[in-house]
C-alpha cells in the first residue's frame, strides 16, 4: 500500500469521526477533500506508473470524493436528523472501497467487500421506509456476490478453473450489474440520497469490474467461455437496461438503468479483452470506467438538487436554474455517448476492438450501435422532459454554493478527460482519434451560436397549430415519450392506459423464485407444528435414523 493511500485512509477515518460531531464544519469537508485529493494523486501515480487497475479505481474514487467533500455537508442540511450518521458512514464506505482495491484476494478482500456491503446497505436503508425494498435487494445481491467470491477465493486447489471463474463471474458480476443479476441496482441506487447514489453507481459498481480484471492476475487466464459470457451478457444487458430504463419514470431510476447499460459495455469490453488480449478493449474498459464515474456522479449529484424525481412531474427546470441545466446537459450528452465525450472515446475503442476481433465478435458492432441509438433516445427523453419545455408541476430546487462547487469539480474534470482522453490512455500505449478536430468543431459551434443569438429575433408563443393554446399537459409524459420505442422490444410489455403497467418477464422469474422459496419455507415451518407429541416423535425418529446409520 502506498503512502498516499495510507494518508487518505487516515483522512477518511478522521472525516468519519469528525462527521459524527460536526458534519457541517469545514473540518469535515477538508478531511474528506484531503482524502479525495490524496486518493486522486496516489491512484493516478499507480495508473500512470504501471497501469494498475487499482490505480484507475482509486483515481476515480478520489475524484468523486473531492466532489462530495464540497457537496455533502451542504446537502446533509436537508437531513438534519440523520446527517451525523450519513457523515459518519460515507467516509467509512469510501474507506471500505479503498480497502477492496488494495486487499489481496482472500480474507482481507472479503472483509472489505462484505464490510462495503454492510455500509452500503446502511447508507441506502437510512433513507427511510421507502428505501426498504431497495436496501434489501442491495444487501441480498451483495451477499450473493460474496458467496460467489467465497467459492472462487477458497476453491483454489479444490475446484477447477471453470468453477473458480463461475464463482468470480457471479461474485463480481453481481456487483457490476451483469445481466441477469442486475435487477438489484435500479432498485437500490435511486432510493438512496443522491451523494450515496453517486458513490454506488459511480464507484462501487466499478469494483466488480476491477475484481474481474484483477482476477486474471490472481487466478490465471480465464477459460474462453468467460470472455464469451461477458461479451454476450454485457451487450445484451446494455440493450436490455436501456430499454427497461426507457420505461422508468423516476429520474434517478432511469439513471440507475443507464449505469447498468454502461457497466454492460464495460463488461463486454473486458470480455473482449479476455478473448483477444487486445489493448483496444482495455482502453475502452478503463476509459469508460472513469468517464462513467464522472458523468454519473455529476448526474446523480445534480438530481440531488430536485425535490421531485418523477420525470412526468418535472419540466422547464432550465429556466429556474440554468447552471444546473447546463451541467446536467453536459453529463447527459457525455452519457449518450456523443463525441467528443470520454464515453464516446471509450465506445469508439470498443467498436474497433470488436471489428478487429476474430470469429463472430464483429457482430457486436450492431449491438453497440443499438446501444448508441437507444442511449440517444434515453437521454433526450430525460433531459428534454425534465429540463426543457413547460413546467408540469411545482418542484423545489436547492443548490447551494457548496453543492454547486461539487458539481463544477466533476464537470471540469469530465471536460478535461474528454479534451485529452489520450493522456489517460498513455499507460496502455493506446492511441485515439485526433480529438482536437472535435474541439475545433465545438469551437465553431460556439461561434455560430454567438452569431445566431444576437441576430434579430422576436419572442412569440410556441406554435400551437392555430387551435387552442398549448398547456403543459400536452407535452408527452415520460412514458408517452418512450412508448413507441418500447413497442420494438418484445421482452418488455408496456400496457398504456390510465395507469400504465409494465410487465417484465425477468422480474417475474425472480418473483417466481421468491415465491417458490416462500412456499418451501412454509413447508419446513410446518414442522414446528406446536404439537409436543410430534416433536417427541421427531426426536424418536432422529434417534432411530442415527442409530440406523451407525449400525448399518
Amino acid at each position: 500500500m502506498s503512502e498516499g493511500v495510507m494518508v487518505s485512509a487516515l483522512a477518511l477515518v478522521g472525516a468519519s469521526l469528525v462527521g459524527l460531531r460536526a458534519w457541517g464544519s469545514g473540518g469535515y469537508a477538508l478531511l474528506l477533500g484531503l482524502g479525495g485529493a490524496t486518493l486522486v494523486q496516489a491512484g493516478g501515480g499507480m495508473w500512470y506508473g504501471d497501469g494498475s487497475a487499482a490505480g484507475v479505481f482509486l483515481h476515480l474514487l478520489g475524484l468523486l470524493t473531492m466532489a462530495l467533500a464540497s457537496y455533502v455537508p451542504e446537502y446533509l442540511g436537508h437531513h438534519p436528523k440523520e446527517a451525523p450518521v450519513y457523515a459518519f458512514l460515507v467516509p467509512l464506505f469510501l474507506l471500505a472501497m479503498v480497502g477492496v482495491a488494495q486487499a489481496p484476494p482472500g480474507l482481507p478482500f472479503l472483509f472489505f467487500w462484505e464490510g462495503m456491503a454492510l455500509l452500503g446497505y446502511l447508507l441506502v436503508a437510512l433513507e427511510g421506509p421507502k428505501a426498504q425494498a431497495g436496501a434489501r435487494a442491495f444487501f441480498l445481491a451483495s451477499r450473493l456476490s460474496g458467496a460467489g467470491l467465497y467459492l472462487a477465493f477458497l476453491g483454489q486447489g479444490h475446484l477447477g478453473p471453470d468453477w473458480i471463474w463461475a464463482g468470480l463471474l457471479v461474485g463480481f458480476g453481481v456487483k457490476a450489474a451483469l445481466f441477469p443479476f442486475h435487477l438489484w441496482l435500479p432498485r437500490a441506487h435511486p432510493v438512496a440520497i443522491s451523494p450515496v447514489s453517486a458513490l454506488l453507481s459511480g464507484a462501487m459498481t466499478k469494483l466488480g469490474l476491477y475484481g474481474l480484471f484483477q482476477a486474471q492476475t490472481w487466478f490465471g487466464p480465464p477459460p474462453v467461455w468467460v470472455g464469451f459470457a461477458l461479451v454476450l451478457l454485457g451487450l445484451f444487458g446494455a440493450v436490455y437496461a436501456l430499454v427497461r430504463g426507457l420505461a422508468e419514470e423516476d429520474l434517478k431510476g432511469a439513471l440507475a438503468y443507464s449505469s447498468v447499460e454502461n457497466l454492460g459495455l464495460m463488461l463486454a469490453a473486458l470480455g473482449g479483452y479476455f478473448l483477444t488480449g487486445k489493448v483496444l478493449f482495455l482502453g475502452a474498459f478503463f476509459l469508460h470506467q472513469v468517464g462513467h464515474a464522472l458523468f454519473k456522479g455529476l448526474l446523480f449529484l445534480g438530481s440531488g438538487a430536485l425535490s421531485e424525481r418523477q420525470v412526468s412531474r418535472l419540466g422547464g427546470l432550465w429556466h429556474r436554474m440554468p447552471l444546473l441545466g447546463g451541467l446536467v446537459l453536459l453529463g447527459m450528452a457525455v452519457g449518450a455517448g456523443l463525441p467528443p465525450g470520454a464515453v464516446f472515446a471509450a465506445e469508439w475503442l470498443l467498436y474497433q476492438g470488436f471489428l478487429f476481433a476474430p470469429g463472430l465478435l464483429p457482430l457486436g458492432v450492431g449491438a453497440l450501435a443499438l446501444v448508441g441509438a437507444l442511449a440517444l433516445y434515453f437521454y433526450v427523453r430525460l433531459f428534454g422532459l425534465a429540463f426543457l419545455g413547460a413546467p408540469r408541476g411545482n418542484v423545489a430546487l436547492h443548490l447551494g454554493p457548496g453543492m454547486r462547487f461539487g458539481l463544477l469539480v466533476l464537470a471540469v474534470i469530465l471536460v478535461g478527460l474528454s479534451l485529452f482522453p489520450q493522456e489517460f490512455l498513455r499507460p496502455l500505449g493506446q492511441g485515439l482519434y485526433p480529438s482536437w478536430a472535435l474541439w475545433v468543431l465545438l469551437a465553431l459551434a460556439f461561434g455560430l451560436y454567438r452569431w445566431l443569438d444576437p441576430r434579430p429575433s422576436r419572442s412569440y408563443g410556441t406554435w400551437d397549430c392555430g387551435f387552442q393554446p398549448l398547456t403543459p399537459r400536452m407535452q408527452p409524459n415520460a412514458l408517452g415519450f418512450s412508448e413507441p420505442a418500447l413497442r420494438l422490444f418484445p421482452f418488455l410489455r408496456l400496457k398504456v392506459g390510465e395507469r400504465p403497467e409494465l410487465d417484465e418477464p425477468l422480474e417475474r422469474v425472480y418473483q417466481g423464485v421468491g415465491e417458490g422459496f416462500g412456499w418451501a419455507t412454509r413447508l419446513v415451518q410446518a414442522l414446528q407444528s406446536g404439537s409436543l407429541h410430534f416433536y417427541l416423535l421427531l426426536q424418536l425418529l432422529t434417534l432411530v435414523v442415527v442409530m440406523g446409520v451407525v449400525l448399518l
Binding site: 433513507e127 414442522l527 421427531l538 442415527v546 451407525v550
Partner: protein, 448 residues
C-alpha cells in the same frame, strides 16, 4: 477452592427478594468468579478440575451473566425481579458445575441441572404461552438428556467401568471397542444435540426463547446452549482420541449442515423477532457443530464465543425493544435505527453480525469454515447456500425494524450502554480475531 467457585453463584440467594441487592449480587458474584477462575486454572477437587476450555466457557458465561443481570434491572419490575435473579443464580451454578466438572457423569448431571434451572427462567411468572413453552422444553430436554445418559453409561461400560474422568477416559478410550463408542456417540449426539438445538431436535428452542422474558432469552441463547455444546465438545474430543473422528465428523457435519439449512427456512418470514433470534441461535449452533465436524475445535470455540456475544447483544436489544414497545411482532416495530439510535444501531448491527458480516467475528468464523469445508466443495457450496438462506431470513426484519415505518419511542431506564459495550467487544474480536488463543485451547481437547 473449586467447590467455592461452584457454589459462588448460589450466594445470590442472600439477596432474598430485594431487587437492589439481587442486582448487585448477580453482577458482582459472576465478575468475582471470572476474576477468580483464572487463578484456579489446572486445580482439581474431587470430580472437578478447571482446564483451559472450561475456563474459557466459565469466564464467558460469567461475564455475559453479569452484563445481562445488570441490563435486566431495567427490564423487570421490583416485584418480579427476584424470580429472574433466583433462577439465574441456579442456572449460573449449574453452568459453573458443568464447566468445572471433569467427570463425564457429573458433567451430565449439571447439564441436566442447567435444563431445570433454565426451565425456571423460561417459566418466570407464567401465563399460558410461557407454561406451554416451559413444558415442551422440559419434556424434550429431559428425554434428550436421558438419551445422552445412555451414551454416558455406554462410554463408562466401554471403559470397563474404570473411570469417568475425562482426561483418564481420553487415555483409555483408544483401547475401547470402537463399534460401541460409535453407538454411544450417536446417542450422545442426539441427546445433547437436543439441548444444543440441532435440527430436527430443535422444537423447544424457538418456543423457550420467544416466551422467556428478554434477559432470560439472552441467557438461554448466549450461555445455556454453550453448556450442552461444551458437553458435545468433550465427547467429540474423546472420539478423536479414540481415532474415530472421521465417523464423528460425518455425523456432526450432517447435523450441522441440516440445522443450518433448516434454520434458513425457519428464519424466513418469521413474524416475531424473538423467535427469529431463536432460529438464528439454531443456525449458529449448527455452524459451531459443523466447525467441530470439520476437525477445527478452535473454530467451534471461537464461533460459540462470537455467537454468544452477538446473540446476547441481539436479545438484550430485543428485550429493550419489547420493554419499550410491548410488541412482539417485527411488523409493529420500525425505524429504530433512525428514531432511537442508542438502541437501534446496536440491534441492527447485532443482526448484521449474526448475518456473518464484517467487521464482526462471525464473518471470520464462517470464512474459516468455508475454507476448511472446501476439501469437499459440495459441502462448502451447501454451507454457502445455508448462510444465504439464513441471511435472507434476517434481512427482512432487520430492515423493517431498523429502517421501516414505525412509531418512535423514548428509551427510559434501560442500561443501553451495555449494548454498546458488547458491540465494541464484537468489533474488536472481528477486526483482530485472537486465533492463537483458541488454537492454544484446542491443545486441551485434541490429541495430536
Amino acid at each position: 477452592m473449586l467447590y467455592g467457585l461452584l457454589l459462588l453463584p448460589l450466594l445470590v440467594f442472600l439477596g432474598r427478594r430485594d431487587k437492589g441487592a439481587l442486582v448487585r449480587l448477580s453482577v458482582l458474584l459472576p465478575i468475582l468468579s471470572a476474576l477468580l477462575a483464572p487463578l484456579l486454572l489446572g486445580q482439581m477437587a474431587g470430580p472437578f478440575r478447571l482446564d483451559g476450555v472450561g475456563l474459557f466457557y466459565l469466564m464467558l458465561t460469567d461475564l455475559l451473566f453479569a452484563l445481562i443481570a445488570l441490563f435486566a434491572r431495567g427490564y423487570f419490575s421490583e416485584e418480579e425481579a427476584w424470580r429472574f435473579y433466583w433462577a439465574g443464580g441456579l442456572f449460573l451454578g449449574a453452568a459453573h458445575g458443568a464447566y468445572l466438572a471433569h467427570n463425564l457423569g457429573v458433567l451430565w448431571i449439571f447439564v441436566e441441572g442447567s435444563t431445570l434451572a433454565s426451565a425456571l427462567l423460561v417459566y418466570h411468572k407464567g401465563g399460558a404461552r410461557a407454561l406451554e413453552a416451559t413444558w415442551k422444553y422440559l419434556m424434550l430436554g429431559s428425554v434428550g438428556i436421558a438419551l445422552g445418559l445412555i451414551g454416558v453409561i455406554l462410554v463408562y461400560a466401554l471403559l470397563s467401568g474404570a473411570t469417568l474422568d475425562w482426561r483418564e477416559a481420553r487415555a483409555l478410550v483408544g483401547s475401547a471397542n470402537p463399534e460401541g463408542l460409535k453407538l454411544a456417540f450417536a446417542l450422545l449426539l442426539v441427546g445433547f444435540g437436543t439441548k444444543v438445538g440441532l435440527f430436527p431436535l430443535q422444537a423447544w428452542l424457538p418456543d423457550a426463547h420467544a416466551e422467556a422474558p428478554g434477559p432470560a432469552s439472552a441467557l438461554l441463547s448466549g450461555t445455556l446452549l454453550n453448556v450442552a455444546f461444551y458437553a458435545l465438545l468433550r465427547y467429540t474430543a474423546l472420539m478423536q482420541a479414540a481415532g474415530l473422528f472421521p465417523f464423528a465428523s460425518g455425523l456432526l457435519l450432517a447435523f450441522g449442515l441440516l440445522s443450518l439449512l433448516a434454520a434458513g427456512f425457519f428464519l424466513y418470514g418469521q413474524k416475531e423477532y424473538k423467535r427469529l433470534l431463536a432460529y438464528s441461535s439454531m443456525e449458529h449452533m449448527g455452524l459451531a457443530v459443523f466447525a467441530l465436524g470439520l476437525g477445527l475445535p478452535w473454530l467451534a470455540l471461537f464461533h460459540t464465543l462470537a455467537h454468544s456475544l452477538a446473540k446476547t447483544l441481539a436479545f438484550l436489544g430485543a428485550s429493550g425493544i419489547l420493554a419499550l414497545s410491548h410488541a412482539k411482532e417485527v411488523g409493529r416495530v420500525g425505524g429504530l435505527f433512525r428514531s432511537l439510535p442508542a438502541l437501534g444501531v446496536p440491534f441492527v448491527l447485532a443482526l448484521a453480525a449474526l448475518g456473518g458480516l464484517p467487521p464482526f467475528p462471525l464473518f471470520f468464523a464462517e470464512f474459516k469454515a468455508v475454507e476448511a469445508a472446501m476439501r469437499y466443495p459440495l459441502l462448502a457450496a451447501w454451507y454457502l447456500v445455508g448462510l444465504g438462506l439464513a441471511f435472507a431470513g434476517l434481512l427482512g426484519p432487520m430492515t423493517q425494524m431498523g429502517f421501516g415505518p414505525g412509531r418512535p419511542w423514548k428509551a427510559q431506564g434501560l442500561d443501553l450502554w451495555a449494548l454498546w459495550l458488547l458491540l465494541a467487544v464484537l468489533f474488536l474480536l472481528g477486526v483482530r480475531p485472537p486465533v492463537e488463543v483458541f488454537q492454544a485451547l484446542e491443545v486441551v481437547l485434541w490429541t495430536r
